[in-house]
Amino acid sequence: MGYVILGLLAGLAAIERKGFLQAMLSRPIVLGPVTGWALGDAAGGLLLGPVLELLWLGAVNLGAAVPAHEALGTAAVVGGAVLASRQMGTPVTLEIALLAMAVAVPAALLGRYGERRAEAWNERILTRAEAQLLRHRLRAAARCNLYGLVISFLVSALVAPAAAALAALLIPALLRAVPGLAMPLRVGFFGAGAAACAAAAKALRARAAPLSFFGAAAGTAVVGLVGVLAGRAM
């Protein structure tokens, strides 16, 4: 049942991402917690959502350029993490979250390939609309536009559960086979998180981005340290 829910969510997110609305509902920061909640672990989605959002902050559809399919990637990663953790009888932990990213993030590239194929397929829909117009069926010609939604839906609805299934297969096996991996992977999660923050700042292409990024990071670290020290002194 979890895979069906995941496929539906991934498909609907793919439609929202490009074909209808574009209201940020398919961005990782929203789709991550929603996917986690739908699969029974909202906290797992909240753990991964910010990291994936920052990782793919620069994934934007400019002109004819096709970016990584961040919605499909998010559904695959969060779905994989929740389904793997369910098999291990725990909520999504840091080590499971990192391994789910390692296994399922490339699904976003597969999604990009699928989107390119869908754009080529949509030319057939245009040809079909033109044929309807030749038969003077104006409303039918215009309605052909909606057929493209089906292709977007199907690509994500099939790839996201498949990538999540792979994660759910590999992660429990790996963590059971090498229990000592858990602690290093927890630290690795924060390494990946830091890289995602850097990727976000870099993707913005603002002249003042390096100064803002490093200044804010240092400022937050100082404020946090002062807070910790003040807490200890009290």
């Binding site: 990213m101 909606l146 939604l149 990946a192 850097a198 803002s212």
Partner: protein, 264 residues
């Protein structure tokens, strides 16, 4: 000799119901994005209810729909303005006030500049800003931040999209000076700088979360890798290899520190 005044042609505005229908359909602009006509099919789908209301003669209506199936590509939010403006021009064509090529000329003139403005403001500034704000919000307070972010973004997004559609419909060609007055590129630049700062705040928060969850080594790893990953990306490193290497470096550092502590 007195000159006979030209007969006054009044352009009857379309009913609000029709305009609302067109606006709703504009949300599907990219449903069949294709390489030959890009958003052409979406544009034709969106404007079709207006053409039905404007041209009772099926032949005229078909000609009108054909001209809207020509190449079209714009930012999906900004396209609302062009859609409104195209209806403005179609009303004038239907009333015999302008030649049939007017709407297409209007679309061709505006689609490039408005796409550039929309991409520069919405896709590379406003949306990343809300994304980064949401990420920091989730790290700070959790789920309420996501709800608040989505609500505020969509108040801005939907308001602007409706306003652009109305401005295009009511003003037609006079839309351009109105957009110029909004100074969107200046606002976009400030939003990008603020977003980079939010990414920095997120990095700082991850240092503390890491320390709390996996010990000081995780905090140090996060701090170092934020610097190294930024430098690597600035030198042209690809995103996913950078992500994998950062995760591996973090895990490797943890193993190394554990061994050093064990050997003491």
């Amino acid at each position: 000799m007195s000159a006979t005044p030209a007969p006054l042609v009044v352009v009857a505005p379309l009913p609000r119901r029709v305009l609302a229908h067109v606006f709703f359909r504009s949300l599907f602009l990219q449903a069949s994005w294709n390489r030959r006509g890009m958003q052409n099919l979406g544009f034709g789908y969106a404007i079709e209810p207006a053409l039905r209301a404007l041209y009772p003669d099926p032949e005229q209506r078909e000609l009108a729909l054909r001209r809207h199936l020509g190449f079209f590509n714009c930012h999906p939010y900004m396209a609302a303005a062009i859609l409104g403006g195209a209806i403005h021009h179609e009303e004038r064509v239907a009333a015999g006030l302008e030649p049939a090529g007017g709407p297409q000329e209007y679309k061709q003139t505006l689609q490039g500049p408005l796409a550039a403005i929309g991409d520069g403001f919405f896709w590379t500034a406003l949306r990343p800003f809300f994304g980064a704000l949401g990420a920091v919000g989730v790290l700070a307070v959790g789920l309420p931040a996501v709800v608040a972010m989505v609500l505020v973004y969509n108040v801005v997004h939907v308001t602007l999209r409706v306003a652009l559609f109305r401005a295009g419909y009511q003003r037609g060609d006079a839309l351009v000076p109105l957009l110029a007055r909004l100074s969107l590129p200046v606002v976009a630049d400030r939003l990008r700088t603020a977003s980079a700062a939010l990414a920095g705040v997120a990095a700082g928060m991850l240092m503390f979360r890491g320390t709390a969850a996996a010990g000081p080594v995780a905090g140090v790893v996060a701090a170092l890798l934020a610097v190294v990953a930024y430098a690597a990306l600035a030198k042209g490193a690809r995103l996913l290899p950078t992500l994998y290497l950062s995760a591996a470096a973090g895990a490797g550092a943890a193993v190394l520190v554990a061994r050093l502590q064990g050997s003491r």
